[in-house]
Amino acid sequence: MVDTLDQLFIRAGRGVVDWAPEPARPWLAAFLAAATITAVFAGLFALTTWLERKGLARIQNRPGPNRVGPFGLLQPVADGLKMLTKEDIRPRSADQWIHFLAPLLKVVPVLLAYSVIPFGRNLVALNLDAGLLFFFAVGSITEIAVFMAGWGSRNKYSLLGAMRAIAQLISYEMPLVLSALTVVLVTGTLSLPAIVDSQAGWHGGWLARWHVFTPWGLAAFALFMTAATAKTNRAPFDLPEGESEIIAGHLVEYSGFKYALFFMGEYLSLFAISAVGITLFLGGWRAPVAFLDWVPSYAWFAVKLLACVAWFIWLRGTVPRLRADQLMNFAWKFLLPLALVANLAAMLWQVTANWQFAGATLWRWVLVGALILVPYQRLGRALLGGRTEAPRRYRFAE
């Protein structure tokens, strides 16, 4: 029974494919997987726009969208209709083809990236040997899309915004990939299903052996999520949009559904990068505690994904935007060295894996934890430049 529920989608898919004539089967299977991924994540995009507006509104003491449908739930539909019926304006001097192709190039690679993510037990569209590399490779195509949008619009603000966005994307790609590399170092594989399998089993018979429950894993997970926030242009790293400074940057000359496509691309990459974070550090589709193992695997994945989305919304509602120089300093002087240190820590963890004496686990925790925490503290102090942080005083209110 439990197994049937767990493998429900796989059996349903196989049933549909078996019904088709023999030569069409591989095509049908590929089409089914692609259609399901597109439909599910486009739906999640619609739901998340509502969730985000509701969540931000609650943080700011407002009710949020509450007019269309119960609790404003039909707001995404209204937004979609508005975007579709809006006039599509293209500047006369814009580069016709580049301006048109940029939103497509933003969305399509992100959809490709979903094909290597294991959403449940056996539930992966494409089990690639180098799946993680594939994910980062297609993720890097968006930089070209951002450039095309910025340059093709033939607008100063667009171009400046695109330059900022590309500088940010490239800078934060380094800590992102390096923090993901820790898991590759320890598991010795680039295949995402194999990485999920490496997190099987239980600590003390009940707690899952996720990578996040190790000192290096915790550090790398924090680095990964920070870099992912910047890589997906989310607040506090949403400088490329910077409404108050460069009026939405590379999006300034886009309207109607093309504008919506950019946002769809951004949200889809947010889900994709969260999904990879979950796969690498949070055990993928595995249950957190042993006695909840009967819950279907895809349900665990969905819960974790929604938790990540909620975390991103919370962050957006509470943290102020960084300055451009702070953004670059943070990436190159803080995240990058710490990501390298996390890699060292992962190596140390791996080298000490066969320590047998009493209290070995405690010693490994102390050693690896110190290897991460000491540079963290030192680096943070050094970057503050001797300044002491005191509560901010507001003179005008005195």
Binding site: I98, L128, D129, A130, L133, F134, F136, A137, V138, S140, I141, E143, I144, F147, M148, W151, L159, I166, I170, E173, G188, T189, L190, R387
Partner: protein, 172 residues
Amino acid sequence: MDAAFSIFALLLLAGAVAAMSLRNLIHCALSLVVVFFSAAGLFLLLGAEFLSFAQVMVYVGAIAILIVFATLLTGSAGATTGALAFRPWLLGVGTAGWVTGVIVAAVLNGRPLPVEGKTAALPTVRQLGEALMTRYVLPLEVIGLLLTAALIGAVVLALREGGAGRGKEPRP
């Protein structure tokens, strides 16, 4: 050949022709991206998964951006270039002919791939990594050293230019 090969090969040739003949430099750079991408597709068809993804990551993600930025920073973007104002065309033809000759000679002298080799076990990422860390470790380290030297050189150049403005930040 199968359809996928024809599509990628056609895209690659079309991109290469466009990259050389288009008037707008940014259009040329973007056509070059199409070429990089099609080459990655061809690698994938040959079963070289790792090489293909590395090609996309390095060439499409980094080199293409570098080319585009260089074009923008030299101020020639947007300006449509006329016919190439390159005088010694004999030199150009000579170089092109020489490169073509070398490639053709290499192809003619190379052993053809065994047909059953395609179905035999292709090298996995693990095998590639092991080869890089054992047999080819010296070239790998040399390249790493070279890249690090280039990186430090870039930092030094950048520092010298902006060095005067340091220490003038207002402290809150």
